[in-house]
Symmetry: C2
Subunit: 133 residues, 2 copies
């Protein structure tokens, strides 16, 4: 598996944990050694592993599952750091996100996530375009 | 100058070009060899250097200056890639942005920018907190 596939695999794992409201999987996919931060839609930045995981607990602990569907991810590898841009359908809301991944040992883990409003939403079966170089 | 200072310097250069509506400086600060992308507030992702610069021309060409003030940047270095989270006061609108930088030769250039709504805006003279590790 090439690095871009591994980054997409980590991105899938992030959204799988999110949709299952699985805090232990969410804690695993966030970086353990790199600095981390998150900007939830409409929220301020949250920094540091403890605060980032607390922000996820606030979102995920009250529910058994979270109505989110990730679509049309595009990944690229910047010399060992991975960037994924993808869409998020959250109930009626169309969002677009930037997810940044770093390799820790041989595992790609997320170090930063920002999500905000999107004017468009690809179809659920949309094939993402090839990365533009 | 340490890498975090150099990343903040590049981030300052990005917003200086933005505020001056200086397309030639904007073209210089965006990466030449790395893949690039931008998500303007409320916009879809724009990918590739030509399309990204076109999107800036659409914003900057009609004006002599752009009413944007960047505040409270916080930078961190992830093994050669730089992430800056900062706030943007654009007229009455409070925004928060993630800016990703890569080193090309000895220059840090921007490879990705996402900006979206922020619920808060630090004072103009706010001193950003130390990076949380």
């Amino acid at each position: 598996m090439g690095d871009e596939e591994k980054i997409l695999f980590a991105n899938d794992a992030f959204y799988a944990a999110f949709a299952r409201a699985d805090m232990s999987a969410m804690a695993e996919i966030w970086a353990h050694r790199h600095s981390v931060s998150v900007i939830h839609p409409g929220g301020d930045v949250v920094q540091g592993r403890a605060a980032v995981l607390d922000s996820w607990r606030t979102i995920l602990d009250p529910v058994d599952a979270f109505d989110i569907e990730m679509r049309a991810p595009q990944a690229r590898d910047h010399k060992g750091l991975g960037l994924v841009v993808c869409y998020e359908q959250v109930g009626p809301h169309a969002l677009i996100a930037s997810n940044l991944f770093a390799r820790e040992d041989d595992v790609w883990r997320i170090v930063h996530h920002q999500s905000g409003p999107s004017p468009v939403m690809p179809d659920a079966d949309a094939v993402p375009g090839a990365p533009v170089h």
